[in-house]
Symmetry: C2
């Protein structure tokens, strides 16, 4: 029996991990990446280089023996540090348990680690500078760099939020459901550099947030002592990218709005002028596959906005589920792809919606006392009923055994319960625990 | 001052009416149509040739003096005739007033009438066999038949649900929101021919519906005595297009399910085999325009499923609103397009959603006694409070002064009121009218 050749489009995080999963099962993997080998070039500047990896992503890495290596290049983050307009800070932990941390990790370092690991497989061939620019479904032909045709019986498209393979499906697949939806805000990356003593200028083990209602600033530690900051900001309006035209506009706005941050950002005006404004898109589509010949995975199937830090984690979980499905019907791609579509689509939709909802929570309500009260009552409910009541954030981040769709369903019920319990009280101690027990028994069985 | 040249892409219903509106204001209009001149060719078979024109569409036609001509080729339809599985019929009027009728009209005849009317304008040039295949926004260049380039400062794209101009915007406009969503059902057109005595075989002034839960058959009169029938039917499943493979499958299924219809359809098996299955798509996008240089209108901006008969009516209303906006800022296209987008997008979204909802109503609930009861109580509420309570169907069809968005908002409140009033009763006479008055005062002020 000849070895089947599989084509993976995109050597980003999901594509390189997927290649490893496929190679471990003995397939010949041809991995096509649009950019040069990042291990021989500078990593793109101005992109979202800081990610978080959480339980779902780690579970997939563990399956291929790379969990430890990933954690070695990550910075554990224990909670959110909220910065108010006077520079006062409040720390809100992500969870109540020791292990309930998320891990800040550099996109570039993780990608390099995955490519290095992929290279150890003799049955993975990597092709760099091969941008996929088209796919003809009928003839099973991939097009690279608008010029080179490659025959491909089985294609795994992990070519990201603006996937060329998905684009081909939009043109060629009958009744293809497709939606791309942009937020009214974009983002710009800024920098808090390493301190003079080569340390961190603010707490490294917190996700720093400056929530300001319709916009926010965020900062996440890098391993080198610096922080990557991200300003999420409307395109248009009174306070917006459009309104900050001059260097002075920028400095004044930051001084008024993020006074404690601006003091840590010596290159603010230059960074603001030089770095591009990125857009924030949600993509949903269906189906994710063309029979047994092509499958979309990761951002290509479901681009998420970054506010739950689950883009990569969801893509890695796709790979994990695909691997499980290969156990039961190894090589019957049509069946595997259909099952994957069936199992993962509802979950990708759920995390896509929760990510948009989390944007509102992060920029808007994290500074709100009612939000803080509900967080505390929620934690206490979790302490009392650890199997019944788990906060949404915890389910998504720390409970990979609960699917995204189930996490969304349960958290909506929980939000209703917290609404009722927190009405008319100001301290967690005032909670009516008998009522809580009754509500949980009624709605969360 | 030289006359400005405007390019209209698509000489269908909306494009030809729009050309007239623009020509009346003195612009030079270049109308580009993909197909041959339908007045010199046979009209496409197998397409949805039967439409309804209602108040919104008629209002736009009236503005250009074509209302009477349209009604002359239409068949008034007073209500729904529901056919149950035994062939028993129930008539449900659309409204309580004489003029509350909808008008069945042939797409082909109406299009011919509009093209003829457009031809009377010396400042409209019609170009047939010119399929728009691309649009370069930067250079303001239209591409026709993948070959011929035309410079175009101002483009009105009325090139339908699969618009090439919209496609170009999807590729070239930053942060373009786009969604296409297909129903799980498709449709197939069938025929009830003219009776032997050249009359109609069933009531001509009703929309005939055979509601069967997950699918339905519909019939609408043509002026020649025949009826165009449409089967709306799932693609897959136990009762579906996929399940009806042989001629005998089709005949048996129709005999069991639509026994009174099948008796009137002598060419059923041939029509079923010959006519294609059409898909049912909703398209939403935003923005509808590129500055002042291009505007999407009609299906190109908002394709609707046909279950409220509002695709054309909504497109005609777009033209009417555009014309009003030209009054206040004649020639400032950027401003006009932005205002149109602002005003019409929410309304197009509302009718798109209501059209999908109406599918469920038509195939599923029209045969239900509770549905009939609510209809009757609704009509009585309208009789008692004609300015406060107007059934959704009536608002959409007979009240163009109520926008689609407002019709949707009010009808959702009304549905809640009807739910409460009809709980526990079986006859309209049992309605608690004092409670009705109280609910209306509370929720519909």
């Amino acid at each position: 029996m000849t070895t089947q050749t599989l084509h993976v489009i995109g050597g980003g995080l999901v594509g390189s991990l997927l290649s490893i999963f496929l190679a471990r099962r003995g397939f010949q993997v041809e991995l096509h990446e649009a950019r040069s080998d990042m291990r021989r070039e500078d990593i793109d500047a101005g992109r979202s280089i800081n990610l978080v990896i959480t339980s779902r992503g780690l579970k997939a890495l563990e399956q291929v023996g790379l969990r430890r290596q990933a954690l070695d290049i990550a910075v554990p983050v224990k909670g959110r540090m909220l910065h108010d307009i006077e520079g006062q800070t409040t720390f809100v932990p992500y969870g109540q348990r020791e292990h309930e941390v998320i891990n800040a990790i550099s996109r570039g370092l993780l990608n390099v680690m995955l490519l290095d690991a992929a290279e150890t497989y003799h049955n993975i061939n990597m092709h760099f500078d091969q941008r996929c620019t088209g796919y003809d479904i009928e003839s099973k032909t991939l097009m690279f760099n608008e010029r080179d045709e490659v025959q491909a019986d089985v294609v795994f498209a992990t070519d990201g939020a603006f996937s060329a393979v998905r684009r081909a499906m939009l043109d060629q697949v009958m009744n293809f459901d497709y939606a791309q939806s942009f937020l009214d805000s974009g983002y710009k990356e800024l920098l808090i550099p390493v301190a003079e003593n080569s340390g961190y200028r603010i707490e490294k083990d917190a996700l720093h947030i400056w929530p300001r209602g319709h916009y926010m600033l965020m900062a996440l530690a890098n391993t080198d002592g610096s922080f990557t900051c991200t300003l999420f900001f409307p395109y248009e309006g009174e306070q917006s990218f459009a309104a900050l035209q001059s260097r002075q506009d920028v400095i004044e706005f930051f001084q008024q709005t993020f006074p404690d941050a601006v003091a840590l950002m010596p290159t603010l005006a230059e960074d603001f002028a030089d770095n591009p404004v990125g857009s924030l898109v949600t993509v949903k589509c269906n189906p994710w596959h063309v029979g047994g010949q092509a499958l979309l995975l990761g951002d290509a199937a479901h681009a998420l906005v970054p506010f739950f830090g689950q883009g990569m984690n969801c893509g890695f979980e796709d790979c994990f589920v695909l691997d499980q499905l290969m156990d039961s019907s190894d090589g019957d791609w049509a069946r595997i792809f259909e099952q994957l579509n069936e199992q993962r689509k509802i979950n990708a939709d759920a995390i896509a919606d929760m990510a948009v909802e989390n944007y509102v929570e992060m920029r808007d309500t994290t500074a709100d006392p009612v939000f803080q009260l509900k967080k505390q009552v929620g934690f206490e409910l979790e302490r009392r009923y650890p199997d019944r009541f788990i906060p949404r954030y915890s389910m998504v981040m720390f409970h990979p055994e609960i699917s995204y769709a189930e996490a969304r369903r349960r958290s909506e019920i929980q939000a209703g319960i917290l609404d009722r319990l927190c009405r008319g009280i100001t301290e967690p101690e005032q909670t009516d625990w008998a009522e809580a027990e009754r509500l949980l028994a009624e709605y969360l069985n």
